[in-house]
Point group: C2
Chain length 428, copies 2
Amino acid sequence: MRIGLLGCGTVGQAVVRMLSEGGATITRASGHRLELGPVLVRDASRPRPGVDPALITTDPARVLEDPEVSIVVEVMGGLDPALGYLRTALARGASVVTANKQLLARHGPELLTAARDAGAELRFEASACAAIPVIKVLRESLLAAEITAVTGIVNGTTNFILTEMGRGGLSYEEALARAHELGYAEADPTEDVGGADAAAKLAILSSIAFHSRVLIDDVPFEGIDRLEAEDMEHAASLGFVIKLLGVARLIGGAVSARVYPALVPRGHRLAAIGGPDNAVLLESRATREIMLVGPGAGGAETASAVIADILSILGTHQGSFLHNALADAGRPMAPPGGVVSSFYLRMSVADRPGVLARIASVFGDEELSIRTVVQSGAGDEARLVLIIHSGPEDRMERALERVRSLGDVRGEPVMIRVLGSGEGGDRR
Amino acid sequence: MRIGLLGCGTVGQAVVRMLSEGGATITRASGHRLELGPVLVRDASRPRPGVDPALITTDPARVLEDPEVSIVVEVMGGLDPALGYLRTALARGASVVTANKQLLARHGPELLTAARDAGAELRFEASACAAIPVIKVLRESLLAAEITAVTGIVNGTTNFILTEMGRGGLSYEEALARAHELGYAEADPTEDVGGADAAAKLAILSSIAFHSRVLIDDVPFEGIDRLEAEDMEHAASLGFVIKLLGVARLIGGAVSARVYPALVPRGHRLAAIGGPDNAVLLESRATREIMLVGPGAGGAETASAVIADILSILGTHQGSFLHNALADAGRPMAPPGGVVSSFYLRMSVADRPGVLARIASVFGDEELSIRTVVQSGAGDEARLVLIIHSGPEDRMERALERVRSLGDVRGEPVMIRVLGSGEGGDRR
C-alpha cells in the first residue's frame, strides 16, 4: 500500500517516522504493509531525515497522479492549494486522509461528495483533536446513541493560557508570552486565541454528531483576548473557572453550535482539564456522559490519528489480527514479584519501646526505604502508617513476612500500592 | 439484517428498544436496516414489551440455527450454556456480539479462533466498560501507537463505594449498603468488590492493548473489602485518594496486568473520577495520555455498545452516511438569539447613587433576573460583577445595549456565558 504525502513539516515527518519505526507493529496488527510513496515539499533542498531523496518532489502531480498511490495524506495545511490537490486526488479515485480542519470546515461537503462519486474515502480524524479519537467514537461507537450535545475544550493554546491566568494571576499578555515560551502558541496566535480554530473543530464535530451540515460560518465564535485576570478572580470567588468552550447541542431539532469563553462550575468535569489538554464531553439519549481527554495537538499525536485513518480505510484483517493477539500467546506475562511500586502499610503494633526501630530495620534489610511514618497511639496499641519508597513486590512480600513474625504486630497489616510510583515500565 | 438475541434481561430489553426506537437513526446513519429475529428466553411466560410474541422462544436452536440470522447477540451472561451457544453460532458462520466479560476473559482465544475459521466476526465492546468505547479505540484508533500502559477504574460498584467511604467517612459496610440502595451493587456483590469483575475487563483490555493473550487467570486481583474508613483518612492526610485500579503495562517486553486498590495522588486524573463512573487511561509511545471516562454499566449504555458492534461488523456505508450528513443539509441551524444561558457580566460604573437600581431595572424589564451582585469600589468608579439567571441570548443582548446607553457605564462591559445553566436542549 503506497501512501503519498502532501507536506513534510512537523506532522509529515512524524508520519514518515511512524511508518518506518512502527511498520512492523502496523503490519502485525492490521495485516497491511504501508509503504511511503512520493512526498510533496515546497523546498526540496531542506533535508528530510528518513525519507529516500528519490521520493522528494516539488511536483504535486507526482503524488496526485501516481496510480500506485492509493491513499493521499494531506498535512500541508492552508486552503489553497490543498483544496485543489485533494480534488485532483479524489477525482482519480485515490482515498484521502487529511488533518486540515479549516479546509474540512469550509469545503468538507464538496470533498465528501467528490469522494462518494469516485468511490473513494475521505477521513479526517486528525483534523479535530489530533490523537483523541472523537470522530471515530461519534461516527462509529455512538452512531445509534443519538447525540444531544457535544461540549468541549478543543483548543490547547487557549486552555493553557486560561489555566495560567487562573492559577498564577497572570494577565492575558503574560500567559500568552508563557505559552509562546513553552511552544504552546504559534508565532501568530490569532486563530487560536480568537476562537477560529475551535470553531472549525466544532463545525466538524457537530456535523458528525448531528448528521448535519455544519460549516465554520455556521458557528459564531468569540475568543479569550478580552478576558482579564480579574475575571478569573471574580469567577473563582463565585465557584467557577473560565474555559474556552465549543458548545453544540440540539434545540428543538435544530443544531446550535458556538464557541465562547464560559464560566464552568468548579465541580464540573471540564473544570479539571488544565494546561494544553483537550476534552470533549458527549451526551446522548442512550448513554450518560462520555468524556474523552488528551493532547489535542502534537506531531506524533496527529500522525497517530493519520495512520489510524489509513488503517480504517484499508480495513483491518480483524480475524487474523485478533487471532494473533489472543489465540496465540504474543508477549509473555511479567512475573508479579519483579514489579516495582511504592506501598502504603497500615498496622497495629504493641506500644512499647523499639518497635519502630525493629520494623524499620526489616525494611532496611530488604533495601526498602521508608518515606513517611505516621504513628498514633491508642492505649497499649499504636497505629502505624508507613509509605515505603518504590521497590519490587517480592522484596516487599519478604519484608512483610518478617514484620508479621516480629511479635510486635497485632492482626494483619493492610498493604495498598501507590499509583504512579513504579519504575521499570517500558518507554521509548 | 436479522439479529438473533440470546437473553432478554435488562440489556436484552434495551437492545430491543434501541432497535425499534432508534431504527430510523440507525438506518439513516449506517445504511443498514436491523431487524429483530428470534429471542431466546428462559421463561417464555414473562411479558417482553416491544417483542413480537412469535419471536420469543425457549429453544436455542431457533436463534442459533436460523440461516436468516446473520448476527447473534449474547446478553444472557454466565459461562454455561453461553459458551456452547456461541460455539454453535460461530460454527455455522454467524457473527457474534457479546457483552459477556467472564466468557471472553476465559474463552476468548477459542472463540476468536472459531470465528476466524468460519470467516465470521466476534465483537465484544460491551464486555469491557459498556458504552465507553475503549476496545474500539485500542483496536483501531491506537492500533499503531504502541500502547505501553492501560490504567483504569473499570468497576463502578467499587468506585462508588470508595467515593462514599472517602467523602462521608462511611465504613465499607455502610457504603456497600448505600450502593445496594441506589442500585449500584448486585444482590451478591462478590464479583465486584472482590476484584474479579475488574480482572476480567483488564484481561480483555490488555489482550487488545498489547496484542497478546491475557486471560483472567493471568491477572492477579485484590478487592476492596479489607479497606477501612481509616485508610481513606490516612490516605487523605498524605495527599491521596484510594481507587480500585486495573493496572496493565509492559515491563521488559512482558505484560504485567493486575487489579488492586491503590493510593492515587490527589492531583492525578483518575483521582477525580467519582461515583459509579469508569475511566481508562491509555499511554502509548506515539501519544501522550488519552483518557476515556463514562458510565461503565447500565442497560442502555451496554445496548449502545452492542448496536455499535453490530454496525462495525456490517460496516457503515461511509460514503453515503457522511455524504448525507455533511453534503446535504440535514438539520437546520438554531438561531443563536433563542439559546438560553446564564451570564456573567463585569463592568465599570460611575460610583454614584442609583446606578445599581437603574441597571437592575433594565434586566427586570427584559425579564432577566439577577442572581448575584458583587460590587467593589475604586475611587469614583465601582466594579460591578453580576450573574444573570438563565434567559435567552437576544434578551440579554437587548438588555446589554440599554445598559451601555445608561451613561453610568464606563468602557465596554465584559459578558461571559455560564456553562450548564442553559435550558431548552433536546432530551428524550
